[in-house]
């Protein structure tokens, strides 16, 4: 067997930057593939990914579902006889993949390096500031108005046609940020799927699953598995992360529901029933869900924060911008969100307004950079898990299905 190896030097450099600098220590003993609780018998990892990375075989790695099936349990790194930290290397490959599949490339590159942190904060901050400026709402309201309207008059308070002006501004900002992200991540995940199919030698199948079949057989079981954290719980060395990640995930789902409800109530129903505008009562069931979720978000992130610091202190993980940026962003969203609410409740207008501004910045960052940061794992890992099921299914494996 011969193999024409054409290493991509820049890829190796990128690996090093993203925390995979230990990869060259690997001597291919394959301990990692055996101690990994998530590695399968037919497609074990991360030993193979380690040698691909050493050889700079970028093409093999960006279409390798194993890279995303890895949950960075850390068992591989704990048992690695060479300190090659396969867990960190696979994390670095994921970081590289998000950048590689990210669109637009400029933004993807920007979001991959800690050096750009000021710019990454400045982009949404400046945009929101300008919007605030041109909205004409840039003044602190009276305490009475604040109690009554909360941050509902942040961007001014006259009606623009039938839509509340504030709602319109928020929608323009957040929906466009989310729109770019959704388009980008869709483009990315489609490219990833193609690459995975190509690398796995999944040719043109005579039978392809229809979209409902695909959802039912591959996507939905993966989502269920993710929600239940089944694989995450297999981890031994870093098992504690489940305690942080699970509340965080539920908080995200609850907040997505609350936000959608709030948007519908304020943006749609509010056109007809103006009383739906303004802050909700603390005893409104939706508000209770929102507040519980907000606390879960901060607590979950806090646990992950502590966990990661501990792992780094113990030498089990490298300190990377890629890992920390997402923790910081989510923590930022949670803390400014709860802060803004508390300041509203105690009636501190100016501090409240500034905190709310920061909250908008944090939320926009989370939306805007989702496809390029660790946040992208919610889409890419789901796709890889669906692909793993697809690869082992009769659509691919059944010899009758081959031309």
């Amino acid at each position: 067997m011969s193999m024409n190896v054409q290493p991509d030097i820049n890829f190796i450099k990128d690996m090093k930057e993203a925390g995979g600098d230990t990869l060259k220590k690997c001597f291919q003993c394959a301990t990692c593939s055996v101690v990994c609780p998530l590695s399968s018998d037919d497609n074990p990892f991360p030993r193979r990914e380690m040698i691909f990375a050493q050889w700079g075989l970028k093409d093999k790695l960006i279409g390798d579902p194993n890279v995303f099936l890895c949950h960075q349990c850390g068992d591989c790194s704990a048992y690695c006889p060479r300190g090659a930290k396969p867990g960190d290397v696979l994390g670095a490959i994921r970081a590289y993949s998000y950048k590689h599949f990210g669109w637009p490339a400029g933004l993807a590159n920007l979001a991959s390096s800690g050096k750009n942190l000021p710019i990454l904060i400045a982009i949404p901050a400046v945009i929101i500031f300008i919007f605030w400026l041109i909205s004409g709402g840039m003044h602190f309201p009276s305490t009475e108005e604040f109690v009554h309207a909360g941050y509902g008059h942040f961007f001014g308070h006259w009606n623009f046609g039938l839509l509340a002006k504030n709602v319109l501004f928020i929608d323009i900002l957040m929906l466009s940020a989310a729109g770019v992200a959704v388009y980008s991540v869709f483009k990315g995940v489609t490219a990833l799927w193609k690459k995975m199919a190509e690398n796995a030698g999944v040719g043109e199948a005579l039978y392809k699953p229809s979209i409902p079949q695909f959802v039912k057989e591959f996507l939905w079981p993966s989502v269920v598995e993710i929600v239940q954290h089944d694989r995450f719980r297999e981890c031994k060395t870093n098992a504690d992360r489940v305690r942080g990640h699970l509340p965080l995930m539920w908080a995200f789902m609850a907040l997505a529901f609350v936000t959608a409800y709030s948007a519908f109530a304020q943006d749609v129903l509010g056109i007809f029933i103006p009383s739906l505008h303004g802050p909700m009562s603390l005893w409104n069931p939706v508000k209770i869900v929102a507040n519980v979720a907000a606390i879960a978000l901060v607590v979950g992130t806090g646990i992950l924060w502590g966990n990661r610091s501990q792992m780094e202190a113990d030498g089990l993980a490298s300190k990377t911008f890629y890992d920390w940026f997402l923790i910081w962003m989510i923590m930022g969203v949670g803390v400014t969100g709860i802060g803004a609410e508390l300041f509203r409740l105690i009636g501190l207008v100016s501090i409240g307004y500034v905190t709310y501004f920061l909250h908008l910045v944090a939320v926009m960052m989370l939306f805007l950079y989702m496809p390029y940061t660790k946040f992208a794992h919610i889409v890419y890992r789901t796709a890889a898990m669906a692909f793993e099921r697809y690869r082992d299914s009769a659509y691919v494996k059944n010899p009758l299905n081959e031309e």
Partner: protein
């Protein structure tokens, strides 16, 4: 025999093949030599082997001639059950304090064995890694030198001690014997402290405690030896099954920064050698060797070639990282075959962990002022008259150890001339 010596005396710490060689080389050119060993016998790890490289001789072959040379040489003074407690002075003029633990058997002993006959208490046989029992008063092994029994007093009841004393016709049993401390003045010290098999219990992912079918390569040596616990038969501990399949787990604790960072040098060769033990007894047995790389330095390459051509043997490139104990007494090896890229689950009757060499001197060496590297090997300082030999210096085979011991002797005799 006097405990004083002339100028240029040499202390050799450790009486294995390296220590014996260094002691004899120094003594045979006229230097006074003290040689000590913490065991009740000389011969060290080589004495425990079934066969040793390069010619696959039984240990009697190399050790007996050395014992005879020691006995015939008036320049060599031997002390068993003896350790170093402190070192002071400097090159050419070291004052070393030694302590001899009580053997409870004096030099009247003729090794007739009458005491063991009447002894009712038993202890684990350390020489055989606890695979069988021995009487609490025992000859460490058949060719033990000095040929004198040793008593594990704490393991004996008062009645048993009385019986032992009564059985001895030579008044050799002295249950009141005390530890004895004494000093020697020497010009230089040769550290030939050797090695211990790496503690397999530390390999937690391999779970060596989970099944008696998981043994170490040194246990295998004892099993294969005619004077071992099974009389030379290779049987699965626990149920004494004659094995039909066996796996060797290479680098069990070696080349691993969580255990021994270095390559222990001998384990690949030991495995090839032990494959021949298996083959001689079980021509049809399946043999599986799991390895990262096979390291067979120099002319040993030929030996590797021969054994890799064995039809019933399979070599799998991948380190065993999990062992599962099975209900039928066997064990399943789990590894990833790095050549095929798939995981291997191989069930075998018995498996051998090719554990490496842990330098035996340990932290105690540092306390005595010995220069040691990060792995615990002794770094020679010839100018200071502190010289390492054999496996105390680096992981090595017998042949290389003897070479380094001769070199150490040459350096040692140059101090204080």
């Amino acid at each position: 025999m006097s405990d004083t010596a002339g100028n240029g005396a040499v202390l050799v710490v450790g009486g294995g093949i390296s220590g014996l060689t260094a002691a004899l080389e120094a003594a045979e050119v006229g230097n006074d030599v003290y040689i000590i060993d913490k065991n009740p016998y000389f011969g060290g790890r080589v004495a425990q082997l079934n066969q040793y490289f390069p010619k696959l001789c039984p240990p009697t072959c190399g050790l007996e001639i050395n014992f005879k040379r020691v006995k015939d040489n008036r320049k060599v003074r031997t002390y068993t059950m003896t350790t170093v407690t402190s070192v002071s002075g400097g090159p050419g003029n070291y004052e070393v304090t030694l302590e001899t633990a009580p053997r409870y058997v004096n030099s009247n002993c003729t090794a007739c064995g009458d005491c063991a006959e009447v002894c009712t208490d038993e202890i684990d046989n350390a020489f055989n890694f606890g695979m069988n029992k021995t009487k609490a008063i025992y000859l460490p092994h058949e060719m033990a030198f000095p040929r004198r029994f040793v008593l594990d007093k704490d393991a004996c009841s008062a009645d048993c001690l009385e019986a032992i004393k009564g059985a001895c016709k030579y008044n050799a049993i002295d249950t009141e014997m005390q530890a004895k401390t004494f000093t020697v003045n020497v010009g230089s010290i040769v550290w030939a402290t050797g090695w211990d098999p790496y503690d397999a219990g530390k390999l937690d992912n391999l779970k060596p405690e989970s099944s008696p079918a998981i043994i170490t390569n040194m246990m295998m040596e004892r099993m294969a030896a005619d004077n071992g616990p099974t009389g030379g038969k290779i049987l699965r501990p626990g149920d004494d099954k004659e094995i039909e399949s066996i796996a060797f787990v290479q680098c069990a604790g070696s080349r691993d920064e969580n255990h021994l960072e270095f390559c222990s040098y001998i384990c690949c060769m030991a495995t090839f050698k032990q494959m021949t033990y298996v083959r001689e007894r079980y021509p049809e047995a399946k043999i599986y060797v799991f390895y990262i790389d096979l390291r067979t330095p120099g002319k040993y390459e030929k030996f590797r070639e021969k054994l890799m051509n064995d039809e019933n043997s399979e070599f799998i490139k991948g380190k065993v990282a999990d062992i599962i104990a099975e209900d039928d007494g066997g064990v399943t090896m789990v590894a990833e075959n790095a050549v095929t890229g798939a995981k291997v689950h191989q069930k075998v009757d018995m498996c051998v962990l090719a554990t490496g060499m842990q330098p035996a001197l340990g932290d105690q060496g540092k306390a005595l002022g010995v220069n040691m590297d990060g792995n615990g090997f002794v770094v020679s300082e010839p100018d200071k008259g502190m010289i390492a030999a054999g496996c105390a210096k680096s992981a090595a085979d017998v042949y290389t150890s003897a070479q380094s011991a001769t070199a150490a002797a040459l350096k040692a005799i140059q101090i204080g001339r």
